[in-house]
Symmetry: C2
Subunit: 150 residues, 2 copies
DNA sequence: ACAAATTCTACCATATTGATAGACTATTAT
DNA sequence: ATAATAGTCTATCAATATGGTAGAATTTGT
């Protein structure tokens, strides 16, 4: 049930781009350096995200990447699906790459796997990058406030 | 986030053994045939499940495998962890193979991944084979009742 | 024209996955 | 006793996925 390095890097890059939303295009080199992601690998990842319409790019001098829409309209689920494909643990409960199992009607396991898929997508398809970054900022503030109080 | 074939086969074999609980040892060959799992592959899987104490085995003539304890004391999570290892999407939120990420305190992604892990384990660590098989039997009954009524 | 940036195509090493082979050991019916 | 049965162990293997690299081509601002 592991997130691939690709998706992990993608999420980090997206967080970086969320933090820099509306500051214009950000270059791969910068993201790669700040988030410590191998640059050439990151290239592939950002390219993929552009192709599915999550990022916009600008070539040439002063080019770079930026979010294609507001970070409260981009969910973690969208990004993970773009890189890793289906989120569902088995294909017979997948939205993205559904394939019926041989004995779907009587399959004992299927309904539990459906529960698992729903549990995962309930988190990943609802959480936006805007919310995630706010949440983190909040808890950081609280921590700092606490430290100060102590 | 995909379940491996190994875990998938393991779950099916466990369902079969649950259905045959208290009927004595069941042979690999039988499970393999009924559940259409490559026999040699299934051997490895059952061996693993025995080594972690989920199954008991008996060698020799009339030997075979059986559940080591009542199916309401065995969860899907236990079986999947035995075969695939940690369930958590990233190590920094894993019970089984926890490794801190470099920037755990400020990591934006971690808390969401924690939510995902909890969502998954909430299903898999609570669902027992007894319950799963009952659930399936129930819904099968309902379906049959419905068919009859119509 | 030139430099800076993305894009595209291809490649590669390693690990994991799914599966198989065969020798070995333990049990038991006869 | 012994043959047949059934799990155990070690090793191997092909295919695929993963993580990463290389370099040429293309686009764009100055």
């Amino acid at each position: 049930m592991k997130l691939s390095k690709k998706s992990d890097y993608a999420l980090r890059a997206m967080v970086y781009l969320t933090a820099n939303y509306q500051k214009g295009a950000v270059q791969i080199k910068e993201i790669s350096a700040k988030e410590k992601i191998p640059q050439k690998f990151l290239e592939n990842i950002l390219l993929t995200l552009r192709k599915v319409g999550i990022l916009n790019s600008k070539m040439g001098l002063r080019g770079g990447y930026e979010l294609a829409r507001s970070p409260d309209l981009i969910t973690l689920g969208q990004v993970i699906r773009a890189l890793d494909g289906a989120i569902a643990p088995v294909d017979c409960v997948s939205q993205m790459s559904y394939k019926p199992c041989s004995e779907e009607v009587t399959c004992v396991i299927r309904s539990v796997m459906m529960d698992v898929r729903n549990a995962i997508t309930d988190v990943l398809d609802k959480m936006t990058f805007a919310e995630m970054c706010n949440r983190a900022a909040d808890s950081l503030e609280k921590r700092e406030a606490l430290t100060y109080t102590i």
